[in-house]
Subunit: 108 residues, 4 copies
């Protein structure tokens, strides 16, 4: 599926928790892809190391912003709905999965 | 300049500290660019949030590996040479610049 | 209140989400306090920088483990209950507060 | 050895790279120890999770500041001197050790 941001899209049958913010995430990711391409060019052109490091720090931060947005949507929608539908089995599984994702995001 | 990794290249007049590892950095960055494109596609296809988060964590880690490699080269070459040539003024400036880069890399 | 881990305690009137894991958190925090004191001693004794850095990295990781445990408990209990009781106002406020805490934990 | 910050101390025979900033590091570490004790008390008193998380984020940041200061001193002194004295063997060993410490500090 190719989302054209700004156009009215046919909703997916089972929309993801981040459906409302999908366009925002896509715009950020396109920008990040361009930034990575920029860093590749900087290395190829043998630009100054410190300037490249500054760019990499900016990309890392931008990626973490996307991760935060997805985590946020995930907790508000997927986890919430699973816990609401079945607190013990499905809900517990979602919580455990979320903890693993948070652990990874915190680099533990 | 377009570096063709594996080919013998004419050395730049003032090669950067990371010149020896340039191809390694370029290969990693190309892979990262592809990974970012993959995440964009995952969001567009409305894949499961947790799977996207796992991918973003992998990209962040790969970017930090490139940053570590550049820091390493920078300390071994640029900082070392500046301090050797002029310990007080140029050397001190390089150290101060490095501290700023480390602070940014440590997210302080 | 002084919790004696292992003893049966009178439950607080409004127990926190982390009440069940309180003793685990306290034990970890006591250990962390000892580790910080150990680092202070290492600096005072002028021990080798790299060994001190290794210790600081271990403490940082241990602190992040406590943070992860608290986040986990918070999402499972406080956020869940607030959303259940009042999805629009109180629930929304809890989600917004959680996003801020996650942003801080991710160092954004 | 117990350093009394502010007093004139007899220099150690082989002062560490961070000798000049020792008092600053000790003051920061004492403050961090107090902050950890504060968090322990907050958990024991069953204070609100989000407030505890904010405190843990502040401690993590303070610890990383100490790490940055030590790294900085280490590069300026220990690494510099080892490379100066013996660029191939001892210098190379110091660089490799520094890379490992940076990798750990970057949580890779």
């Amino acid at each position: 599926m190719t989302t054209v941001c700004g156009e009215v899209s046919t909703p997916a049958e089972t929309p993801r928790g981040y459906a409302d913010h999908k366009c925002g995430h896509l715009i950020r990711l396109h920008k990040i892809e361009g930034q990575v391409r920029g860093v590749t060019r900087m290395v190829d052109d043998e630009r100054y190391c410190i300037d490249i490091l500054t760019q990499i720090a900016a990309i890392t931060r931008a990626l973490q912003e996307v991760a935060l947005g997805l985590l946020d949507d995930h907790i508000r929608h997927c986890v919430h709905e699973a816990v609401h539908a079945d607190p013990t089995v499905a809900g517990e599984a979602k919580y455990a999965e979320l903890t693993t994702a948070l652990r990874r995001a915190l680099r533990l």
